[in-house]
Symmetry: C2
Subunit: 150 residues, 2 copies
């Protein structure tokens, strides 16, 4: 999918995109955890090592936020402002650990005109996040609002 | 709901909890946006002022992450490790702006033994985030895994 200016009218069911791989660091895991999810397995390497995951893991909300960054950088829908409406069926399937490389794949699975905002459309995307061994670590469906062609 | 040590067996449908109010600052909005959601209305006050929201707004993922922090601090299920399995029907309903005060309310709406992990149970919670004027800004259903009584 090209990165040029796109509108809702340019999108088609089945259009897909991939992000680059992004490394997850222990520092970023601890920084996010300290601010937003201060449980021992996100912020304390020693306690995490003795805990249920045998080491630090990323907050699930950080994995979701990283997928957002990869989406913004990949610009699969062009440069227009993307308004997030909601998320369905978000599943955290595997732990994300320091050193993991995450790649996001998205696919357009639904398109409909906005009910509340004429001139805009709602894009439903199936989003999957994979690690460096190809394991699916997180998946969700997102609804985003995008401008239609003027 | 008390903050003592609880297990899955202590929870009942209808148990509810509230967090304290937490202030959202422009600095925190921009810091989160710069790292995880670098769109102009999250990171650039001038561009945001001229944009669709008339000013900076928080990334929806930051609002979700703030709700997580308030949940961790409120400890409605006690001190046990909370394993997030997934989220359903997450809806971003109103913009969150600098200076807003957010409060989270949760209610247990489902309880069932874990299929995959004997000795653990899955708690389904309805989570709502309100701003200082009582507007519902975000809601979702969460599934979390919790230890049962040994």
């Amino acid at each position: 999918m090209p990165s040029e200016e796109l509108s809702f009218d340019d999108l088609r069911i089945g259009m897909a995109w991939s992000s680059r791989q992004v490394a997850v660091t222990a520092e970023a895991i601890v920084a996010f955890g300290a601010e937003y999810d201060p449980q021992p397995f996100h912020i304390d390497p020693a306690a995490a090592g003795a805990g249920p995951f045998g080491g630090l893991i990323a907050s699930g909300w950080q994995v979701a936020a990283l997928a957002m960054r990869q989406f913004v950088e990949a610009r699969p829908f062009g440069a227009a402002a993307i308004l997030g409406l909601g998320i369905d069926e978000l599943r955290w399937l595997k732990p994300v650990r320091p050193g993991d490389l995450l790649q996001v794949r998205g696919e357009v699975v639904g398109l409909k005109p906005s009910k509340s905002r004429p001139g805009r459309g709602v894009v439903r995307s199936a989003v999957q996040v994979f690690n460096q061994t190809g394991e699916l670590v997180m998946s969700f469906l997102s609804n985003t609002q995008l401008p239609a062609r003027p």
